[in-house]
């Protein structure tokens, strides 16, 4: 397994150029830049429709310094399948423009909309077929590009424009779909969660994903200052708190002899080592405007407790899996 130091990574030219039109303080490009620092050779990228795709490619401009294709919203994984199949066929034939590449990393970027919901079918199919590609879920927990509508990845009680915190209903009533478990159940070689607050961890996992033979899935928590409602300079801090409260644990799951082997990483490994350092989820909730209604006009202890119980339960289940 090849390692990448901060210094080496910093020297690599960015696959994504500045001058894109994402919001100031957006975490999507922070993650994308970090992940693509870990490439080891030629890559082809495909993106689903979403904030990243739209804001990096307003014609006639493009922020992508690598070959890139956007087709539609629900098919990032199908696109990746096609590119990988094309490369494989050309290698087999020994002819065609991609035949000369011994390694070609195919990377798909999609949001929670394009993954949990409309993109789930294509993702499941691509995982089942075992294509050699890396899928990066940029999870900002709502359909941000179209105006902050709820997705299957939106957490319980979050206020979105289609699950608003109203007089009768306090935000989203459903829980965040356990996408990582769904992906792990497909028995693919490598699954990992990412937070930009731990850059070396991100790059290490990205490198492992590229090197895995077969599908690899990286799930990044991507705070959105606009949709989560916090001051934009706090993006990394919010991402850090998600991990420190165990709302979004950092871990890897690789398939070894047909069994899933879990390993905690970075901030989550630290919490497991010193359980007293686990921060109460309320510290994560109170800095985000999308959870404001849990505190004002009156503190909703019942809902905050529901969330804490959910976090605790899932953290314990993860600890059991890690063993």
């Amino acid at each position: 397994m090849s390692e990448l130091t901060m210094r080496e990574a910093a020297r690599k030219p960015d696959a994504l150029a500045p001058g894109h039109r994402l919001c100031a303080g957006c975490d999507e490009t922070i993650i994308v830049r970090m992940v693509l620092k870990a490439t080891r050779g030629p890559i082809i990228v495909t993106s689903a429709t979403g904030c990243l795709e739209v804001s990096t490619t307003i014609f006639p401009y493009t922020a992508w310094n690598v070959p890139w294709i956007h087709v539609a919203f629900e098919n990032a994984a199908a696109n990746a399948s096609g590119i990988e199949a094309a490369w494989r066929a050309m290698r087999r034939k020994g002819s065609g423009p991609l035949a000369k590449y011994e390694t070609l990393d195919v990377v798909a970027f999609a949001g929670d909309g394009g993954t949990y919901d409309i993109g789930l079918q294509a993702l499941s199919g691509a995982l089942e077929r075992g294509h050699d590609f890396t899928y990066v879920l940029l999870d900002n927990e709502a359909y941000m590009n179209t105006g902050i509508q709820r997705s299957g990845g939106t957490p319980f009680a979050a206020s979105t424009t289609t699950s608003p915190a109203g007089r009768v209903i306090p935000g989203k009533r459903e829980w965040k779909k356990p996408i990582d478990e769904i992906v792990i159940a497909h028995e693919i070689p490598y699954v990992a969660t990412l937070s930009a607050a731990w850059p070396i961890d991100v790059m290490r996992k990205a490198r492992k994903a590229f090197e895995a033979t077969g599908p690899a899935f990286l799930h990044a928590i991507v705070p959105c200052s606009r949709g989560w409602r916090y001051p934009e300079e706090k993006t990394i801090e919010v991402s850090r708190l998600a991990v420190q409260t165990c709302f979004f644990p950092l871990y890897e799951c690789r398939l070894e002899k047909g069994r899933p082997i879990y390993e905690l990483s970075a901030g989550s490994a630290a919490v497991a080592k010193r359980p007293e350092s686990k921060k109460p989820v309320v510290e994560y909730l109170e800095i985000q405007g999308r959870f404001r209604h849990l505190f004002r006009p009156e503190r909703r202890e019942d809902l905050i407790k529901n969330i804490q119980d959910w976090v605790d339960n899932r953290w314990e289940m993860l600890l059991e899996k890690v063993g």
Binding site: T57, A72, G82, M90
Partner: protein
Amino acid sequence: MKGQILMGLNGDEASAYATKQVNPDVVAAYPITPQTIIVERFSEYVADGEVETEFVAVESEHSALSSCVAAAAAGARAFTATAANGLALMWEITYIASSLRLPIVMAVANRALSGPINIHNDHSDSMGARDSGWIQIYCENSQEVYDASIAAWRIGEHPDVQLPVMVCLDGFTLSHTMENVLTLPDEAVRTFVGERKFIRVRGQSGETELRLNPEAPLTFGPLDLQDYYFEHKMQQVDAMEQALVAIPEVDAEYAKVSGREYGFIHPYMMEDAEVAVMGLGSTMGTVRHVVDQLREEGVKAGLLKLRVFRPFPSKELVKMVGDLPILGVLDKSASFGAPGGPLYEEVKTAFYDEAERPLIAGYIHGLGGRDTSPDLIRGVFESLLGVYERGEVRDKVSYVGVRQ
């Protein structure tokens, strides 16, 4: 032509066999009646090592075309096949495929769109996609399916065209009916299609080949605001105009190899015809049979089989119709609320500004696989002869073969 082998193939098998000889890089397909034989047969070729194709058993038609789009953008030759609701499911992607100028080839085993669900032949599926920017070729028999499935690659990949191509074959009537097909030797097909060539464009990396290339990155599928979308669409309009020139070039080259000549429209007995029927697909075989009968009875009947529906060959049509007084147009699909079926509307439009034009009547038939018998076609000719006698069209559009 020398060296051709006579095989008994149904339409689906003809499509699969031709595609095997082309040996595309990627086939991403999802089964749907009556296209299933295409994917099954091709899977056998893959399993037997007769092709080097990467077969992607996608989980839906939407993913089938998406995978083909991305594969083609990556520089591959990509093929898929579908029918009816499968085409409907990938409808969104058909527009994207043509906008990205990708010469994908797709076989469409024409079948009625649900609902109610019906697995039999009509043209509602491919007609529903007629605005998508794909070239559309309709086949009368297995021979035409075989030939079109080879020529389609050169048509789509023609440097002035660069568009995806639909090869349409009537579901069951054609797809599942065995017919004699003269097939070219493998080498002849390989030589004819050659290697895929790329056009060059001036993108972000300067002038490069239009493909996903790690050495010369391009961005496919950007966001267009109001300031660029219309211009990009004009390029597609232009591509279809170029196809009107390119298709005869490819057809001429194919004729040299196969001995079979193809055009936009295939006339039969039109030199002195006084009444003719125009249509698409296998029904024209039945029409030919009725034309022969009518000729024996002294009726100066003729037919015009339209092979290429997109781009619509207006000039060619007007020229071939000449001074024909009566033209019936068969449509095997309806457009609810429209003045007539799709072919009828386009034909009338082609003639509207012409000084000399026939009386035109439309006949919608065969929806959901309703049999279009020789008697039914006779009825159409009789109706047209009635128009001839009256000197005017009384019923612009009739629905024939349906119980009232």
